[in-house]
Subunit: 368 residues, 2 copies
């Protein structure tokens, strides 16, 4: 292989495919980036077998060919080269990189040893604008569990029924649900690993172009144009989340999102000192009183709010309630309660497409 | 004590005095910030007994008094409060912080348990512009050792002879020397802990006002105006560095600083793969050829330079040579050599006030 490529373009896409490479791989070849020069394009691939990322870059191809090269070192080198044309040539497993008066000779691996990414069969395609997908992932993926003993909950449920799509994540303490409209006639239900969506979100640009989402048995593919992200799907039955979301409420509260977040974050400073990470909410008359205490002291926050329904005293793990409020980007939120023992449901005021549900912590009566 | 103070002002100075507090202290009271309200000022103090930082802030003092309060928690709270007036009041060891509708009650400690910072006697004062001191510290402190078995070399020698002052740091592999002009009639020679200078540099603003440097037996004090930094001095004999700096050279090279740094940084990518971290320089005819190799490959960099004197082949630990070149901020540097076995001396071209000296690594003849 012998090619010429612009340094800044190469850096951009090396940064992208590196997100598919795990530093903890046990298969040495997967420390590498696969470079393939064909048809006027340089194709880069990085994978850890769970996720795979391919990018196609315009380059001058003088001689086609392929090689696998250590990802970290190759990335460090191209980032440090001057912003100019880089020439890359290979001779069997050897790679030569030259740019102005810099010249690197590296030993790589044959591309025949590199695992193949899945071939796409039985395609089912859905189109979603990039910015919408990016925001949807941001609003849900954080609610997945990190607990590997419940593998299915480390993923986000992606369900499509015609034009309606839902993304759902839950970890046993809270649930995040986002409904969006998509361009599709299909029905499907898959669970995408949280890690895939986190890496995808670092790559996704905040623009209106569509991402093409392709489903094949056992895999999902996000085609962003220059870059294609493959991921295996998680197997198993996702919880029937619809039963969890209560329709009736005894108390509804309208509150400024930013003020609520700030008050909870201040209260959590003391909550963090204790194991339970507890903040207590007293919804009474025309305000929410937020309290927290630890050995070192206590905090009392008051927020003016609009209340419909009965007063309620309820306690939460501060992290779980704050996470959901931070995921909402409108000015006011609506919190719905059904006594101290049922989940609190938080929605952006006047919008039905996002639901965050958080379980309370049960306290003895005098502890509220 | 009962005071009112602006949130943003309090945050600024809490951030400053926290730099004097160590997270590893074994004396629990030193986890705290000492607050003292007196004479229309709030005084904050943080110390780990090696370094102490005091700040004086304008505040409305309704009732004088003092308390010690957990630094991390107090800092987190004031940073999270709204940008408005904060009211702080104390009752024995209890502190109440209120701001708008937020209220914190914290348990602190009595200020009588807090250690006293040294009293200033036998004063000897030197004035140095803040920006000059900041740059001088930046250009020297990195060359101190981290090796606690050679405590005197963890500090920077600060020597004053009338108007001439020098800052010197060395660790056995390299030496950094900066000479500056100061406003003084005194002679003195002290060794300031590297940690003190690193923390001082985070506080020092890049402006022309003077820092007043005060020496008292065993201590040095940097008076920045609102903030005073105290530090104990290191005891022991500093190396006689003047003998180390060679006056004669067999080779002098004039080279673009940025290009040299970039080439060395690229070469170091392969050097880093090996233990010795070795870059080899071949100064020949009108260029420097920089080479490095590891199991995974090799690199060859060429730089056009202006050479006076004989050719030289020499090898360095890449980190040590790069550190010195990064400390220089002019466009061209002069490197002086005396064969493969003597130190290389690097200076900003045409300036005599900064000297960086780095020891070569001795190689077998065929290994250059």
């Amino acid at each position: 292989m012998r090619i010429q490529i612009e340094q800044n373009k190469l850096v951009k896409y090396v940064n992208i495919v590196q997100k598919g490479i795990s530093s903890k791989t046990t298969l040495p070849i997967l420390d590498g980036i696969l470079l393939e020069a064909n048809d006027g394009k340089l194709k880069l691939t990085g994978t850890d077998l769970e996720i795979g990322i391919e990018s196609y870059i315009d380059a001058n191809i003088y001689e086609e060919g392929s090689i696998v090269i250590n990802s970290r070192l190759f990335g460090d080198i191209v980032r440090k080269l001057p912003s100019d044309l880089i020439e890359i040539s290979t001779d069997e497993n050897k790679m030569n990189i030259s740019c102005r008066s810099s010249e690197f000779n590296l030993i790589g691996n044959s591309s025949v040893e590199y695992p193949e990414l899945p071939t796409l069969i039985d395609q089912l395609t859905i189109n979603v604008p990039k910015d919408l997908l990016k925001n949807t992932i941001r609003q849900t993926v954080f609610a997945t569990t990190q607990d590997e003993t419940r593998p299915i909950l480390t993923g986000v449920l992606f369900e499509v029924n015609g034009n309606d799509a839902s993304f759902v994540a839950l970890d046993g303490y809270r649930l995040a649900l986002k409904n969006i409209k998509v361009n599709s006639n299909e029905n499907m239900k898959v669970v995408v690993p949280g890690r895939t969506l986190n890496e995808l979100n670092k790559i996704l640009e905040d623009e209106e172009d569509d991402v093409k989402i392709i489903l094949t048995p056992g895999h999902i593919v996000f085609n962003l144009g220059d870059t294609v992200v493959f991921s295996r799907l998680l197997e198993g039955q996702f919880l029937n989340y619809k039963d969890i979301i209560r329709k009736e409420h005894k108390t509804k509260v309208k509150v400024n999102r930013k003020e609520l977040q700030d008050s909870l974050e201040r209260a959590s400073l003391l909550a963090k000192e204790e194991k339970a990470n507890l903040v207590k909410l007293n919804v009474i008359e025309d305000k929410i009183i937020i309290k927290s205490n630890s050995e070192i002291g206590n905090v009392n926050e008051q927020l003016p709010v609009e209340i419909n329904g009965e007063d309620v005293k309820i306690a939460f793990n501060s992290k779980y309630i704050i996470d959901g409020i931070k995921a909402i980007d409108v000015e006011e939120v609506e919190m719905s309660f059904m006594g101290s023992l049922n989940p609190c449901i938080i929605k952006p005021l006047g919008e039905e497409n996002y639901t965050y549900l958080v379980l309370p912590v049960r306290l003895a009566k005098d502890d509220y």
